[in-house]
């Protein structure tokens, strides 16, 4: 899906846990997630901390969308 959205002309960031698959398949902007069953959350944390983790990943996603790239890039989550 990610490639078709990009092909249609919309910049897209792929948030996923298994970034190697995303790279093999050909996503361009990639942000690593926590785990497969809970990419944007961490059930082991209290709610407030879990939301902070989600915020950090989403911040990275916004940064990825705002960054010019020329090749596949995996962005760090601060």
């Amino acid at each position: 899906m990610v490639k078709e959205i990009e092909r249609a002309g919309i910049p897209v960031v792929h948030i996923c846990t298994v970034t190697p698959i995303s790279q093999t398949v050909g996503a361009n902007r990639i942000v690593p997630a926590i785990a497969i069953p809970h990419p944007l959350g961490d059930p082991s944390l209290p709610l407030e901390e879990e939301k902070a983790v989600r915020r950090r990943i989403m911040n990275a996603a916004l940064k990825a969308l705002s960054t010019e790239i020329s090749e596949q890039t995996v962005f760090d989550v601060d």
Binding site: T17, V18, T19, P20, I21, T24, V25, P32, I34, A35, I36, P37
Partner: protein, 426 residues
């Protein structure tokens, strides 16, 4: 480690007043089995049923299939750390009721249980259409959580298999087979001119209905480690998963791991079967990296020349498979990988979620998206209520004439990634 398997060939299964094996017939006292299963207070009811090869019977949703075995000599008991106390198994003597199996079914836990047809086209795709099956239809207590539900059903199946296995304790096997793995240096000396071959088994370890247990330890919490291949024959690895039913290994397949058996068949002839390594397929990327690093290091540490790597599942585990293959190949070791494919119902899509050029010797269990229409069956054990929602089914796939259309993904054991089945694709 040396293990002798004594096979008692079972050609039929029947209800009887006393549970026993006589002239190749397995007689089962249903009340005893019910009482055994109902000892678990999480289970409110169990129905004991039977399904024989060729019968017009469909079992669904199937959770696990287990072979009845009993340890007659040597340390430990069947399913150590789960049913028997923890102790190292894999040596001595074990008796097997060959041709019999315990199948667990009942209400559905997730989307992931399978279909097992005893006749018709579906029977061609599942190895368990050829076994004489004792089927447990298990209904859990109302309100029981899905993890507990899965756990209760899993244990009921294993306990019943142990109960049946006990019937073989005093019997004289119809045939025997011996398997032996020597300690590292002795193994090298035994066949110094043969290539040293290892087996890397990847265990599904992704959560509910996706777990595997090693001596009772949840495989997602293990680091890759070494085993004697004979340990699995005594139930050291059990299945807590059946997602999607086609390519997950039921406990029966762990007990009879075909790669272990086929490597032993060539051991001392054209290869030296040195070791078995188990690893996991976790949901965190760091785990995937760590486990594949560790696995490849173990392969190098054992001075292996060749390795067979088997996957369990698909999607993100394809990455674990490719990481293992790449890293082991990078150590100068020749690899063959076994997987299966999700190429779409028309077979035209990409088969794997991940790929790497090092995976240049690949055996496939076939395209799991292939569609089959299964005939109407006279008898359903379990319920057909779920065939539309299990993986490989879809809304309205059950037709008026009683036939069901599914992807073979929904058929238990159809595209085995340890090569237990004959299906392939080109």
């Amino acid at each position: 480690m040396r293990l002798e398997l004594g096979y008692i060939h079972i050609t039929d299964i029947r209800f009887g007043d006393a549970s026993k094996v006589e002239d190749g017939v397995l007689y089962v006292n249903a009340e005893e089995v019910e009482a055994l299963v109902l000892r678990d207070e999480r289970i409110t009811s169990v129905k004991v049923d039977m399904a024989r090869p060729g019968e017009s019977v469909r079992i669904t949703p199937v959770k696990d299939v287990i072979e009845p075995r009993v340890k007659v000599e040597g340390p430990g008991g069947m399913f150590p750390g789960v049913i028997s106390p923890v102790d190292t198994v894999g040596s001595g003597k074990t008796h097997v009721l060959k041709g019999a199996a315990v199948v667990t079914t009942g209400t559905i836990v997730g989307f992931q249980e399978g279909i097992l047809d005893m006749s018709g086209v579906g029977a061609d795709y599942t190895p368990f259409s050829k076994t004489n099956n004792l089927v447990l239809v298990i209904i859990p207590r109302k309100g029981l959580g899905s993890h507990e539900h899965e756990h209760a059903v899993r244990e009921a199946g294993l306990k019943t298999a142990v109960y049946l296995g006990e019937l073989a304790r005093e019997l004289t096997p119809d045939s025997t087979e011996v398997f032996e793995t020597l300690p590292l240096t002795e193994g090298v000396k035994q066949f110094p001119d043969l290539p040293r071959v290892g087996y890397v088994q990847m265990l599904q370890s992704q959560g509910l209905l996706h777990d595997t247990y090693v001596y009772g330890v949840d495989a997602k919490r293990i680091l890759p480690t070494l085993m004697s291949p004979t340990e699995v024959m005594d139930g050291a690895i059990i299945s807590g998963n059946c997602v999607s039913a086609c390519d997950k290994n039921p406990t029966y397949v762990h007990q009879n791991n075909p790669i272990v058996h086929d490597l032993f068949a060539r051991h001392g002839k054209d290869l030296n079967f040195a070791a078995m390594i188990i690893t996991n397929e976790n949901v965190y990327l760091a785990d995937k990296i760590r486990s594949s690093d560790w696995t490849s290091n173990l392969c190098a540490f054992l001075s292996l020349d060749g390795v067979i790597i088997s996957e369990e599942g698909f999607g993100n585990p394809d990455t674990d498979l490719m990481m293992n293959c790449r890293k082991i190949t990078d150590k100068g070791i020749k690899t063959v990988v076994i997987t299966d494919e999700y190429a779409g119902q028309d077979g035209a899509s990409q088969s794997l979620a991940d790929a790497h050029e090092s995976a240049d010797a690949l055996v496939t269990g076939g395209n799991a998206n292939q569609v089959v229409t299964l005939p109407r069956m006279d008898k359903i054990i379990g319920s057909e209520e779920y065939v539309g929602i299990i993986a490989g089914g879809w809304d309205q796939n059950k037709h008026e004439d009683g036939t069901i259309t599914v992807e073979i993904q929904a058929i238990t054991g159809a595209t085995s990634e340890v090569g237990f089945a004959h299906l392939s694709a080109r």
